[in-house]
Subunit: 249 residues, 2 copies
């Protein structure tokens, strides 16, 4: 995750995670946002043994593409990622952005290949969960299974909301909804809900919301004129969160 302007205890922990890729689940500050939530100690230790912690990847690193065989799920440890799917003619849709504690690859479980392409938006690292091993230890850990189902279900519900956004909302509403979703997720991770860095480009945002880059540019400018936000490059500051909420529809 891009460094936020106000530093919180969780942020310090995240910085530690970034430096040290041996931190076990037990000591990981993402604990309450992550898979292990609700696992008993023995189970947690066991889960820990199957997790592979990655080195730091740099911006642009490709985690997987939709042509590769599905082997593992990934949890973001630090940084952020985007996933895309592509139509046969090359058009792409940015399906989601992922922040620390979130799962990447869940849509591939039913197939032998990944269903999307995942790319790092900034310097990032992940925990890799080999799916066959996950399934194996899952047989004896109902809590783990429940966690997995919960994750998937949450993601599904999120996607449905995005369908509402894509199908029914105006450009203004789309951007307002998107910014508030970011704000909420940063807050859950102990960052400021109002001041943060956008790790994705304008064109990623545009694509994700079903708009053109130019529209996003214009909206950022207008939102700024109207005192809703203030934005300079990638640094965003929400000035009037209430008005932004009203805009969502």
């Amino acid at each position: 995750m891009t460094q936020a302007t106000n530093v919180t205890p969780l942020f310090n922990d995240l910085a530690k995670i970034e430096r040290d890729h041996t931190v076990a689940c037990q000591e990981c500050s993402l604990y309450r946002l992550c898979l292990p939530l609700g696992l008993h100690n023995n189970d947690l230790v066991r889960l820990d043994t199957i997790i592979k912690r990655s080195q730091n990847y740099k911006r642009g690193h490709i985690l997987f593409t939709d042509e590769q065989p599905f082997k593992s799920l990934f949890v973001v440890r630090s940084g952020s990622f985007k996933t895309t799917i592509s139509a046969s003619d090359g058009r792409e849709q940015v399906t989601s952005f992922y922040f620390p504690g979130e799962f990447i690859g869940l849509d591939a479980i039913h197939q032998s290949e990944y269903q999307s392409n995942a790319k790092a938006l900034e310097s990032s690292s992940v925990c890799e969960l080999p799916y066959d091993m996950l399934q194996e230890i899952g047989e004896e850990m109902p809590q783990l299974q429940i966690q997995m189902l919960t994750r998937l279900s949450k993601e599904l519900a999120g996607d449905r909301n995005l369908m509402l956004l894509l199908g029914k909302k105006t450009a203004d509403e789309k951007l307002a909804t998107f910014l508030l979703s970011l704000s909420k997720r940063f807050q859950e991770r102990g960052f400021s809900a109002t001041d943060f860095q956008l790790s994705m480009s304008r064109s990623d945002i545009a694509n994700h919301l079903g708009l053109a880059v130019e529209t996003i540019s214009r909206l950022f400018s207008r939102f700024q004129e109207e005192g809703l936000i203030s934005i300079a490059g990638k640094a965003l500051s929400v000035q009037n969160i209430e008005k932004l909420k009203q805009l969502c529809g």
Copy 2:
């Protein structure tokens, strides 16, 4: 499912299911499309004991709304359903249509309330799976857990494709993609891939695809003129499936 014009063995079985709501999983013709797939006999019998089979519901019957507590998942036994989610201002998005063997309610697993509204599009029946019981027997049936994960994952992948459709495709491409998706699902269920009844209204289709009703009407007319389909009321016949596939993008 609405009666298709060409009758196949599976169709006859489906007709039987519609009449007799006591058919056990073991004898159900949906077996290979449904949850029990891959379960051993003992497990199947056990699963069978927790399933409640509904009477026939008629068109317009509401299975659940997003205000009700989440208790059960549902599998369509006969007929079809639509699910919608609504924005705070009342706008609605049709998130999905469901046919026999498909699961409704998966997006609610992580919550105490349903996340959407489910309504019968025609005379329909369902199998009800109380989620607490499912979880209970799931602890001892890894195959069942895997099935559930697979289902959820498949639904997720489907939603991602719909995001591509909503975000990037033109009206023509949207309708072509939708018709082909219906065609494929009918075929999987033993019906004709080219001749079937649309159980949903034009406005449901329009809403689902992020278009206006009028646009759907015009497209149906134009597709007909161009020899792609022939449509009379709810009866659709695909005339040129190849051309339709090209249109999808």
